[in-house]
Amino acid sequence: MPISSRFVIGSSIMLLAIGFVTLLGIVGSTAWLGEKSNSYFEQSNRSRALRVSAVELRSALQSAESSQRGYLVGGNEIYLAPYDAAKAEARTQLDRLKQLLPPSAQNQTVLDRVSRVVTEKLAEMDRTIALKSDLQESQASAVFRSNRGKALMDEANLFLSSIIRQADDRLETLLNEQRRNATLLRLATIIGGLVIVLVVGGATATVFRYAWEISRARNELNVLNQTLEERVVRRTAQLAEARDRAELLVAEVNHRVANSLSLVASLVRLQSNLITDQSSKEALKETEARILAVASVHKRLYSGDDARYVDLQEYLSSVLDNVEASMRGQGHVASLRYELEPLKLKTDSSINIGVIVTEWVTNAFKYAYPDKPGEVRVRLRRLAHGKAELSVEDDGVGRADGPAKGTGLGTRIVNAMARSIGGDVEYVAAGSGTVARLAFSAVLEG
């Protein structure tokens, strides 16, 4: 499962916190164990001093006894050389022992006994030496053989050995405690170190994994982008091909429609040629003109680049030329002049405008100048606000208020066509003639 940046930040903070706490733990335990070590060290020193004092006291008593016995056996005072020093040392160490032995009822009893035994032992040795010095050999020997000296020495040794052993036990206990502390410290450091290594490892692994996943995502994106571009190019090509096919099809359809309309117009014309009735003939001629106007649009469409829009300037020029030619063929003498601004319009709207302009120009030819030549002017221009205006103007006889000339079909067609494109039709008298105007939206939609 991929990891999120939120996870990376969260886990990093957590790992850092663990590392920090671990570090605090190591530092804290080190300080604590160090303090304990100091305490043990002080206690060890005290126990060691106590032990040394007991050993020195015993040693001093043994030196004094050895000196005394040497003198008693040999009678040579040279043996007494270390005697006084040993006695002094024994007293000194006894005082030290009193200071160092931890205060307790038991230890006080022990001290009292040791003091008494040491004092008595020294007195016994002093006495035997004095007797020997006074040449009272037998009395000195009797005291010696009484074994009292040995008994006192044994008793002193009993207590001093006990003190030494207790000091040794205490030292061993303290040493074991220190060993345990050292082990604890080592353990804490190792565990802390391991935790920190794990934390660092975990953080590194998270970062590396995150970076690796980002890198992998980038690579995957690149691959996707590359594929997408290829797919877009391929799709674009497919769309272009489809569009070309569609345009070809539309052109073909328009071509066929135009041909079919031209065929229909020809059939209408043939029919009108065969008809003798003038009104019917004219009706058919108008119909032919209308069909041709529509056909003209389709010709434009299949020959143009875009079937959706029609260049009105070009289209209307063609339509007007056809109408003028048709009118002249029917004997009308008016002239046609047109001014068309460049304007593109949707195909449906263009057909409607083509039919409207055909109706209006045909009417002008037929009715504005019934018996004399005149000019019919067609203008296409852009207006403000996306509007355009088509106007057909003549200087003819004008629109009379009487009954409509012709069948009235043309007017209905114009109105219907104008309505379908949302246009407004108006007829305005201008001088003697008439101006027919169509205002419509020139906005290219879709």
Partner: protein
């Protein structure tokens, strides 16, 4: 080494004393020799002349141990048709000398003695030997037959018993009190042996190695009270039965006696045996079966008077009495005659060395004999 140096000193003193008196007979074997094992098939000698069929016992005191010897002697005298006389010196050396001189004047045929003071008694004993009588002593010379206990072996038996207990029951760790006996230097090997046995248990620490002022229950108790001041917790106490019994009493008084402790003594004192029977802290007593060796000495005295060759020395072998073997031991000591007649059982208690008879009495032992001397 120190013990043997002391032995030689005693020997020198004995020689000095005998030199001072008018010499009426041979001084015997004064230089230590290693005796061969006793040969019962040795040729017979002449019968002692002008001596009464009397077995006398000069007893130092009325301790149980000596009472056992007296009983054994009495039984042997009865069995062999000897008149039995007994004199008790109540630990008075002069009185004992006087009593022995009385036996000399009475021309007793055999004397067994437990000397109070070997030095002062030695001349009187020599005179009895010179008179042709049998002289058996309990340990010190001079004597035609010296009864001794192998002191090192005695201590070793007790030390080994204690070491085994420490290893098996106290997880190899124990604070040991060793109550020694300074006034009798010939007992020193006992304590050397105990120390040697305890060396096999590294966890056994001798916290006190000391002699009570008096070797009796009061001395043992007093010393233990002192020891408890220095070492409040004790696991093992070893020494002579009397002092160990005193130590046990002191521990009980202090409320520090436990059944898991090991109290072991030497001598097979009846009170110690009673403690063992109770199954408390007293676990063993190394016994020197005094009725058995007393009986044997009585038999040897009778053999001497019949001109037979008898041992110059005899070991009473130590036996550790425990709850397991106590019953058999009591049967043996109650009936020493049956043990003496059964060679196998006798060898469990006694070991005999050298040969001597009336005709070779000049070879009497006049040095502190020990089978452990090499």
């Amino acid at each position: 080494m120190r013990a043997w140096r002391s032995v030689l000193t005693v020997l020198a003193l004995l020689q000095g004393i005998s030199g001072l008196e008018a010499q009426q007979g041979p001084s015997g074997l004064t230089k230590p020799v290693v005796l061969p094992l006793f040969d019962p098939a040795k040729q017979r000698c002449n019968l002692p002349t002008d001596l009464g069929k009397v077995l006398a016992f000069a007893q130092d005191n009325e301790r149980k141990f000596m009472q056992g010897v007296a009983r054994g002697l009495q039984l042997a005298a009865d069995d062999r048709g000897l008149e039995y006389r007994r004199a008790q010196a109540a630990n008075d050396p002069a009185r004992m000398v006087e009593q022995v001189r009385g036996f000399l004047e009475a021309k007793v045929g055999a004397l067994v003695v437990a000397p109070v003071d070997p030095l002062s008694l030695a001349p009187a004993l020599q005179q009895i030997i010179w008179s042709g009588a049998y002289v058996g002593t309990v340990v010190p010379p001079p004597a035609t037959t010296i009864l001794n206990a192998p002191q090192y072996l005695t201590g070793k038996v007790l030390g080994d018993e204690a070491a085994r207990y420490i290893k098996t029951r106290l997880n190899g760790k124990a604070r040991v009190v060793l109550l020694t006996h300074d006034s009798l230097q010939f007992l020193a090997p006992r304590f050397t042996a105990i120390r040697d046995s305890l060396k096999s248990v590294p966890g056994a620490v001798i916290v006190a190695d000391i002699s009570p002022l008096t070797v009796d229950e009061a001395g043992g108790a007093s010393m233990m009270r002192t020891i408890l001041l220095a070492n409040p917790d004790i696991d093992v106490v070893l020494g002579a039965d009397t002092v160990v019994l005193g130590a046990l009493a002191a521990l009980r008084e202090a409320g520090k006696a436990r059944d898991s402790q090991f109290f072991g003594g030497i001598d097979g004192e009846p009170a110690a045996v009673e403690e063992i029977k109770r199954g408390g802290p007293y676990k063993a007593s190394v016994s020197l079966a005094s009725p058995i060796f007393g009986y044997a000495m009585g038999q040897l005295a009778a053999d001497w008077l019949e001109g037979k060759s008898i041992p110059q020395a005899m070991d009473i072998l130590p036996k550790a009495l425990t709850l397991q073997n106590l019953a058999q031991y009591e049967i043996d000591t109650t009936h020493p005659a049956s043990v003496y007649r059964d060679a196998r059982r006798r060898d469990e208690y006694l070991k005999m060395y050298g040969n001597i008879c009336y005709d070779t009495r000049d070879q009497y032992l006049n040095f502190p004999w020990s089978s452990e001397r090499r």
